[in-house]
Symmetry: C2
Subunit: 434 residues, 2 copies
């Protein structure tokens, strides 16, 4: 927020707000059309090109400097922060648009990912997942809430300011990245290409809440070993399914031990601030055989401020300790692999200027105080902070509960409200040139 001795901007919010919101209200149908086209581009992993062409074209029309490139897999995959199931990014370009500031202001990265998770079981959808149908003020489709609705908010915010003839002092860097859903290779590639700023805003589906802290997460794979035998003489074998039961219990204790000390007020009322989740189990392939192997895959939540290494060490120690209660595990230790996705935790001071500015503009537009919370999942804000030294906040229009599910949707009013809040925040953060 501006201090009282900066009279030139003191009244701006009220005046600006009316101009910005009026401009946005007039473009509501254009916004819906843009979002519908982005949803219709079906940008699952490896198929982001069509959606990115829409974004790049839009940024060019706004007059931004547009940079489109496919990350170089061989180089990127050697990066210690690289985490993706693929190393070939053909068909998956990043798009960055830079709105160069007049100088003398703070810069801001607006980062949204364009990749979406698969449709899943299509029979559970009651609407075409790619049609972008609008009903009762909601636009339905895969990616509507996570996070193309948020991306449209960013594009609208820049469009509003530019259309209203404003010029900012700091740079605004709009990043439309790939590969967030599998660990952030797109944002990593943008960081390595040199895009950094004084702050970042990532409009993931927070349901209009503001998240100054995001937990990170790591995927793990545990392999529990047994010894095969015929089911009719199962006492001659050792069931890996039976041995998986104490492993599950150890993971439950790990979660409990890690969460008990968390007293951050942002987690007040959250039953399990940083969960350890076992997402899949698989073992054995014949009913009449004793299974000799069970694989468990899950995600380990990383506490904001905690290092990945510390969390890994704690889990490793708990698995090693299984041997204390059952010597089977001494001879057949549970194998632990870190695989697939990884999201770094992120945190900025809830009292930082970015948070105060964003909260104030939220109040301006919404007429009430924002809910400030800690996110239950990781975002690219973690990478922006840890690798790009660009601390960020997560705040977006999407419905948290709708992400990744059938009949995913976003409320169009929320998309426009976030656009207004972001536009006004940019004015404050980057400063007006005139």
């Amino acid at each position: 927020m501006k201090s009282a001795d900066d009279p030139g901007l003191l009244d701006a919010p009220s005046h600006l707000r009316e101009r910005v919101t009026a401009w946005l209200d007039e473009r509501r149908e254009d916004a819906v059309d843009l979002l519908r086209r982005l949803v219709g581009a079906e940008s699952t992993q490896g198929h982001e090109r069509a959606a990115q062409q829409i974004v790049a074209e839009h940024l060019r029309l706004l007059g931004l400097e547009v940079d489109v490139w496919e990350p170089d897999g061989p180089t990127l995959s050697r990066d210690p922060y690289f985490c993706s199931p693929r190393t070939d990014f053909s068909g998956s370009p990043n798009v960055v648009g830079v709105w160069r500031g007049a100088g003398g202001g703070r810069s801001m990265i607006l980062n949204g990912h364009v990749d979406v998770v698969p449709v899943g079981d299509e029979s559970q959808w009651t609407r075409d997942p790619w049609a972008g149908l609008v009903e009762d003020g909601r636009l339905y489709g895969r990616g509507a809430t996570d996070m193309k609705g948020g991306n449209v908010s960013l594009l609208l915010a820049v469009a509003a300011l530019k259309s209203l003839g404003m010029r900012l002092r700091g740079d605004v860097i709009v990043e439309s990245v790939v590969d967030e859903e599998s660990g952030g290779a797109g944002t990593l590639a943008a960081v390595r290409r040199g895009y950094r700023a004084d702050a970042a805003l990532v409009p993931e589906p927070t349901g209009m809440r503001i998240f100054p802290k995001q937990q990170g997460s790591l995927w793990f794979r545990l392999t529990v070993t047994g010894r095969a035998a015929h089911g009719g003489t199962r006492y001659e074998g050792v069931s890996a399914i039976e041995k998986a039961v104490p492993v599950l219990a150890a993971l439950a204790r790990l979660e409990s031990d890690r969460n008990a000390p968390i007293d951050d007020p942002l987690y007040a009322g959250t039953p399990i601030p940083v969960p350890v989740n076992v997402g899949s189990i698989k073992g054995g392939d014949w009913p009449s055989m004793v299974p000799d192997r069970v694989t468990l895959e899950g995600r380990l939540g990383i506490i904001p401020g905690e290092t990945v290494e510390a969390a890994q060490a704690e889990m490793t120690a708990d698995l090693v300790a299984l041997a204390d209660a059952d010597p089977w595990f001494a001879d057949h230790p549970v194998r632990l692999e870190w695989f697939g996705a990884r999201w770094l935790p992120g945190t900025i001071d809830p009292d930082s200027e970015l948070m105060r500015t964003l909260s104030a503009r939220y109040r301006d537009v919404m007429g009430e105080d924002p809910v400030i919370a800690a996110s239950p999942w990781g975002t690219d804000a973690g990478l922006l902070a840890a690798v790009g030294h660009t601390p960020g906040v997560v705040f977006g229009p999407g419905a948290t509960a709708a992400a990744h599910y059938a009949d995913e949707y976003v409320e169009i009013d929320r998309v426009l409200e976030v656009a207004a809040i972001v536009a006004l925040t940019l004015v404050d953060w980057c400063g007006l040139a005139e």
Copy 2:
């Protein structure tokens, strides 16, 4: 065994034994060659034709009446005892050879299955699973022990008696059936075609033990329901993996409750006479999601003398009782399906004449008492008894522990010994015509 007032046969065993074993010893290489060719025919389910052609040709050369037919799937699959994952038996003919007796004697079915289980993880094999390599008196390959070694014993037994010019009074029916490994559709088809006898011998891999009782088994599939949620807010969901843990405990109690009352001396020393085995578990497909479904597949052992229905009812009741401890199961009951394979239990009196005859001929050939036990698995002897009213015994040369594993093998000496024992048993049971 013959009574003392049957002087014509009293000395026969000793005389016969020498002739039979001498004949078999001379044909050792022929026996190995036959077994190698049968193993090399790769008769996994649906691909039994080549192996059956070898068997049929062999039976024709011996002068038996040979019947080759593909079971009629549509008819067979309506049979209440039918149990198979398939209803099309194209490429899977049964072969039956009948050695018609002179009359006035008891008949005997010699039943062996020609289908073999898949090779499995080929990297675990140190020998070609289909080459039938011989090392240190063992022939290696998929099906060598389960149960082509036993089948060769049967063919040798008949060949020895015929080659030595003997004629039996009762019929000998050699059945080379398909589909045993998935529930006995081949033997069922043979029964429905009219093949019955006064007794049966099934040379499954008993490791030279004689099994007058065989437990049956049923395959079951349990579906445990949870409620999906994001892993980061897993407390909003219900993990089907967590809910599977008490289900596993219920199955362990079921096994314990069913085995505690078993006091049959044939099970003395068996840690779990009739196991309940959970062979596979599968649930969830994304590390960061709470899994909403877990599937468990396993086999429920059926106690000899118990009905399938009684065993099913006991398991069903235990699963319903889960709701007493956790109301989740009242609203989301575990789904129980009986699927795939089913083997009926079988039992004959350990003091019956068939058992005494077989045991005596075992002593003649092996010079020691046989081990009499109850089998830890089901065989087609259950169907022969329950549907074909042909009570049987299971006794074969295969190594029990090698069945279904990598580097499956059979000891060639055992194949020849079982051939001799079966030949001499046929003489006693069916009677000599001259």
